[in-house]
């Protein structure tokens, strides 16, 4: 019988929630990396036992952890303890937490600064990994989205990371500016039908796409409108919060922007607003049903000044028409005195039938719906604030 493994990153460690296909009874394990912020964990589609985790701290910086046994044990990829950190030739061995921006003369030289809050140019400074996206086909290959915004790739299971500097170097990089949460690359979508195509999104620069495996990139923000930048329809500068795609229909994208829920039917070349009847179209998460390409989910947040759910009621909104017409889903969710938020990477869907939907809140609750959103149950109620939720559907 199928079962599910929910990977939860929180402000104080990582938790793994496991259940069978009924998704009624749960086992909770953790915290792993106790006391550290775990921004994201994600399993490899090619090997479900391979899981990558981003463990980070304001004191001690970035750590990449890897599990090869489905989260039972973890290690930092790279040099084993006690072994020299350099080869006999003096070359450095793997350093799994070393994210160094490309400043080479060939590809990285112009990429030394971006726009700062005061309009001056500011050097790119690595802070943390927000999102790890394992390859669809190779467990040893994964992409990391980092703050300050850049995309890195490992091809050796996380031992070494190399920047795909064409993203920062495509031309608009010096105009990128951090949002209040930092200048983070938080969304990475790999195209299952075209291994050379990747979408990414950055707060507050916008969405970008490569069609040549990461060598060259272009902004894909046509149709976005953001009142908080001087030119509301500028090529870049939009605070994209998250982008989702149904893997069975590559190229149709759904976006939760700072304000506005958007949709693209041409791989991001053009966007149109589909906020429709939502009570507020501010929010962070958006996700797509695994089996129904036109079914999508958002959790509206009251506003950019009040980061909690609308009206004190925790409500998931589902559209079965790809946007515009939204249905409030409340069964099992608190409908009074609730003032939590749901962060951008804290929603996930499984691939069971019926599709399971999961999300975690800043109040430490993780909810599951085993019926595509019709009803909800808390898996856990009292974890640290949830930063990310991913789910693996296992045979």
């Amino acid at each position: 019988m199928s079962h599910v493994r929910v990977l939860v990153g929180t402000r104080k460690g990582a938790f793994i929630l496991s259940s069978d296909g009924k998704r009624e009874k749960w086992e909770v394990s953790g915290p792993d990396f106790a006391g550290w912020e775990v921004y994201h964990m994600k399993g490899s589609p090619a090997d479900p036992n391979r899981i990558y985790a981003s463990q980070t701290s304001g004191w001690f910086g970035q750590i990449i952890q890897r599990s090869d046994d489905g989260g039972k044990t973890w290690h930092q990829p790279g040099t084993p303890p006690g072994e020299p950190t350099t080869t006999p030739q003096g070359l450095p061995k793997g350093e799994s937490n070393k994210f160094v921006y490309d400043t080479s003369a060939e590809t990285g030289k112009p990429l030394t600064t971006h726009q700062w809050y005061d309009g001056t140019q500011h050097p790119w400074e690595f802070k943390r990994v927000w999102h790890v996206e394992p390859s669809l086909t190779d467990p040893d290959t994964a992409y990391s989205g980092v703050e300050d915004a850049a995309l890195f790739r490992t091809t050796d299971g996380g031992k070494n990371w190399k920047e795909l500097s064409g993203l920062r170097g495509h031309g608009t990089g010096p105009q990128w500016q951090p949002g209040a949460g930092g200048m983070c690359l938080h969304t990475i979508i790999l195209d299952p039908s075209n291994p050379r195509r990747i979408w990414i999104a950055i707060s507050a620069a916008g969405a970008f796409r490569t069609d040549d495996g990461g060598k060259t990139w272009k902004p894909i923000n046509k149709g976005l409108r953001s009142q908080y930048i001087p030119n509301p329809e500028a090529e870049i500068g939009h605070c994209v919060h998250h982008v989702a795609m149904n893997a069975k229909r590559p190229g149709v994208l759904f976006m939760q922007k700072h304000w506005d829920v958007m949709r693209s039917d041409d791989a991001g070349d053009n966007w149109k607003e589909v906020s429709g009847n939502l009570p507020t179209d501010f929010g962070f998460v958006i996700d797509a049903h695994t089996h129904e390409p036109e079914t999508i989910y958002v959790i509206p947040i009251k506003s950019d000044s009040e980061h909690y759910v609308h009206g004190g009621k925790l409500t998931v909104y589902r559209s079965r028409s790809g946007g515009n017409e939204w249905q409030a889903l409340t069964k099992g969710l608190p409908q009074k005195d609730c003032y939590v938020s749901v962060l951008r990477d804290a929603m996930a869907v499984d691939s069971l039938d019926k599709c399971g939907i999961y999300f975690g809140t800043t109040g430490g609750q993780v909810y599951c719906s085993a019926d595509a959103g019709d009803s909800w149950n808390p898996i856990v109620r009292d974890l640290p604030g949830v930063l990310s939720v991913e789910v693996q559907t296992l045979a």
Partner: protein
Amino acid sequence: MIRLVLPYHLRNLAHVGTEVILEVEGPITQRSVLDALEARYPMLRGTIRDHGTLQRRPFLRFFACEQDLSNEPPDAPLPEPVASGKEPFIVIGAIAGG
């Protein structure tokens, strides 16, 4: 023999107890002690000093012999009691709530 005390989270990363014993060749300085620590425990690279600049991370301090040595030059000799192993070199995290 150099004695070195790590903060809780770094002890967990390195799978060591409160105090680490290191053999350090040559002059005993912040740099030589941390180089030896990172060579023995490579998982700590980047957690005390920045990978690229080797600057101390902002929220960590270096104490020894009841002195704050955080802002001393990395190649300055450490106090004799540290060099002789009588006193530990202490890496400590800045206090913060939350």
